[in-house]
Symmetry: C2
Amino acid sequence: MTQIARSLKMDGRKIVFVPTMGYLHEGHLSLVREGKKRGDTLVVSIYVNPAQFNEQCDYEDYPVNLDRDKELLEAEGCRILFLPSSESMYPSGFETTVHVSGLSKGMCGDSRPGHFSGVATVVAKLFNIVQPDIAIFGEKDYQQLALIRRMVSDLDFNIEIVGMPIVRESDGLAMSSRNARLSEDERMLSLSLSRALYSAMKIFEEGSCDAQRIIEGARGKIAGGIEIDYIDIRDAATLKPVDKVEGDALLAIAARVGKTRLIDNTILRRN
Amino acid sequence: MTQIARSLKMDGRKIVFVPTMGYLHEGHLSLVREGKKRGDTLVVSIYVNPAQFNEQCDYEDYPVNLDRDKELLEAEGCRILFLPSSESMYPSGFETTVHVSGLSKGMCGDSRPGHFSGVATVVAKLFNIVQPDIAIFGEKDYQQLALIRRMVSDLDFNIEIVGMPIVRESDGLAMSSRNARLSEDERMLSLSLSRALYSAMKIFEEGSCDAQRIIEGARGKIAGGIEIDYIDIRDAATLKPVDKVEGDALLAIAARVGKTRLIDNTILRRN
């Protein structure tokens, strides 16, 4: 991949990169389609990065279907698929990590210790290998996207970061590779996540700016049997907590449905 | 600098990079001369990086003479000098750091908390800005050089790291910008550092492999009035402590002469 990237750069090609953990769904494919539009050469990576899993069982159970992923990517016209091995990514003696201190705290950072350092480190590695001009990430992992923007700015990567909107199932559930692990009952329960967001958004649109009130509105809609990790409202740019929604704010939710941890979010914005 | 680097890469130029903290001496100039030989375009940076100083007074007293540095670099035929400001390197909200866990421990890592993370972070930034094919560092900062090699490998920077031998004054003192801060008496005392290394090397060359014995031989030569920080023998590649010198080993010394902290080292190697 290093050699391919080098020769693409020499030819003056504009490389667009979509890093994924595979088990692709329409959310990933929306990134791939955007990538095709934005550059000359699209590179997609599939790598289930052990360093960003804080629970071994979540890593081991992460869904994999490489044959299907390849078919989907070919159908989209993606010609370069990068599939690093863990032996090549984390060889014996590996000991370097990248930390983004503030944005790794709160929300998913609190419930997933080490997760964001694992993300920042692997993304820095992938950027150095793939040498993209543009990299595209989904807004479902909103905190991750904010952290990557910060890392790119702080470490002077000359890369444009593009965020793409959440893609949802027709019933509102945010697409996630982890949805494949839900039982039929859990799948039904999971709907209350997006419904809680819609309900909270309605409270906001009816005029309330009080973060706590909006959060409680969301909390009231979460189905029994779902273990809420957090429901939080943060400044959409800095991810600092806000009491009053004034500028753009992120309303984010994380919850465990059975063994599966799901996240979802939306932006609260006054028109 | 980002734009210059990008256009140099587009032209297929091989960029060689020599990062420095300025107040240049013959040690730096040996890196510059090596750099001229190895590539098409040489970039030298001068930046006294606050993040790698663990003592505020050491940072504030770090010697500066930019006019002289420019003259020296021009005389060597260096055409690109990168002089970043701290406002551009660490703008408000900066929060990303790079850590190399094992190689930051022991020796200078123990006496200079935060130093090596500051080094790794600024070097990662400079690499991303300057986009070198080759980067050259001095072996006087041996632990720093080992740590940078590790970071480059771990984070997949596509950069060849070249280490250059220590350059010494005619009386044996390793060249250092900090030597400028020594009083005449301190300058005399400082000579015992390199003499201690020579003396220890002699013990080794006469057949002893016992690390402790070699270290004590060095310690015995350090002048009174010098505060030894450490004298250590480590594997030259991994910097792991060794009891017996079998393969190549680093013999390293750090000491405070008055207010000035000096380091020196040599490699113990059986022919």
